[in-house]
Symmetry: C2
Subunit: 333 residues, 2 copies
């Protein structure tokens, strides 16, 4: 999709401010095994979705986006801490095309550098120019961290359970995926001087957009055009992950054909399927309207995100949030 030049320019200038300031937030000191993994992770790029979103949320409530720079970077640092620790738990060897921290160094370095990044995130937040709402900011950070841990714990628990309801799935991704976006708009909204109602609207927006993002992520993993993203098609199927698609298929298990039921049984029993069975799973999703349901869900949630911010002042800031929600779906981050 084509975004207006003004949005793209704003995004780019905020992103550059983030890159510049982030370099100052990363300690250069000893011990090397603590700080080198932090720099490695934080300097590995990415779209800096969370800090830019924090800054745009600050704009959208009538503030000056740059006032949310350090708070946004704090959220980016937290996001990266979760990646390092999740990669240990998921035994992931590669992240953004590079070896993960626990592979490049070792597990202790990955645990410790992630821990230290939490403290650095709070330190970075304290660099914000205006701290009169510090208590609210700290409270938001605390809840953000705790819920992202809850999300990861639910995700791990679900891997060992045969049946997950769609409500449980949504609760899990709301915490695991959407929470850091919600934290970003919350700190941005606070630093922009937003009211309680405005901040609630921003959080509603980020939650809907974050869940839409994850449902689409589940869907693109096995959709034919996922290949464009340079990812293995069907990685989630190989790993036996209980995605939106799998849970939806299990919801209608009783009305599936005998062959489809067998395929689902095999997926559950073996905790995943070999690559040659991915086309059969694609066909199952296609024939049973599950791809269509994913698409509808993403559209509904995106609309919900757009509408949530309708109470904010009409202006460029609000438009940027609309663009942002759309951009989130354009991948890959």
């Amino acid at each position: 999709m084509q975004h207006p030049t003004s949005f793209l320019q704003r995004y780019e200038s905020y992103k550059q401010a983030v890159e510049g300031a982030l370099a100052l937030c990363t300690p250069q000191s000893e011990p090397e095994t603590l700080y080198a993994p932090m720099r490695y992770t934080l300097e590995s790029g990415g779209k800096r979705v969370r800090p830019v979103l924090a800054m745009m949320a600050c704009d959208a409530v009538g503030g000056n986006g740059m006032d949310a720079l350090y708070a946004g970077i704090a959220v980016e640092i937290l996001h990266n801490f979760t990646l390092i620790h999740d990669d240990i738990m998921d035994a992931a060897a590669v992240r953004r095309g590079n070896p993960t921290v626990h592979v490049k160094w070792n597990e202790s370095a990955a645990i410790l550098s992630g821990d230290g990044m939490i403290a650095i995130a709070y330190q970075t937040l304290l660099r914000s120019s205006d701290l009169k709402r510090l208590r609210e900011l700290i409270d938001a950070m605390n809840i953000g961290i705790l819920e992202v841990c809850e999300g990861q714990a639910f995700d791990l628990e679900f891997q060992d359970r045969a049946s997950i309801s769609i409500e449980e799935y949504f609760r899990m991704i709301e915490k695991k995926t959407a929470k850091m976006l919600e934290l970003a708009v919350k700190v941005g909204g606070i630093l922009g001087g937003g009211s309680g109602t405005q901040i609630e609207a921003l959080c509603h927006y980020a939650k809907a957009a974050g869940i839409a993002f994850q449902v689409q992520d589940d869907w693109l993993d096995i959709a034919a055009d996922g290949a464009k993203l340079g990812k293995t098609i069907g990685g989630d199927i190989l790993e036996g992950k209980k995605t939106f698609l799998i849970i939806k298929a299990l919801e209608q298990y009783d009305s599936l054909s005998a062959a489809d039921r067998l395929l689902m049984d095999e997926f559950l029993a073996k905790r995943g399927l070999p690559a040659e069975q991915i086309p059969a799973m694609q066909s199952l999703f296609e024939r049973n309207g599950i791809f269509a349901e994913a698409r509808t869900t993403v559209e509904r949630l995106t609309k919900e995100a757009h509408e949530a911010v309708d109470i904010l002042p009409d202006g460029a800031g609000r438009t940027y949030l609309h663009e942002f929600a759309t951009m989130l779906l354009e991948r890959t981050h």
Copy 2:
């Protein structure tokens, strides 16, 4: 040593307040794999050294110790987070006579519950009745966490290095062992309305007392009367740890006897010695005055701790800090 009744009573009443309030700070909610390990760890008792110390530091600057209750508990929670994560890195199977979290659950649960405890520590701090110096409190927490991570990283790095200077050793234990005591007195001093100079004095006190504690811990590990603590004598020697004693012995390597040099060479080459060689190592330490040096160092640091708080108002609060520093050396915690 016999402590005055007033100190023991004060200690006990603060400890009870900590136990009562701590139970309220530990979430009871789902997911179970996140919160059960937290409760397991926080409810496993201990002397609650750090929160009681925070409360006594608050008293010592003229405040009301109970005002530092939640801040002290925040430090206790941080201390317990470090235990859970350190136990993973050290592959420790037992802590306080119980299986460690990564053994009783699994490593993912141990990583996640430790992470979540950091957020809960900040949340607990926010329960304090007076938050007008919140920025200072948060800053202290951030630095405390970061330095305790630095201490652990140095400790792990030192295990892979042949030679460690005594200055490096002190820097490491200052961060790994003393920092959480320093954080305790700092938040206590802030909440007691202490001045910058008073808080500096409290930190000096806690640092000296913390280092004394660790040197004595190294020493008791292999001293004959260590058995009283119910610990294996010479555990550090078996594990090849570079303790105060080992570093001091290596400092005078050139003047050791040929047999002693051989023993030290073997310790370094094999990263530890078998149990039957522990008496030889004890004899080495004894004959070369290293036990005496440990004893002198502990005495010097304890004196330093006592003197550091001489600038505080004369009264029961200051006396309690003197008692506290002595008590710390009475083990075991």
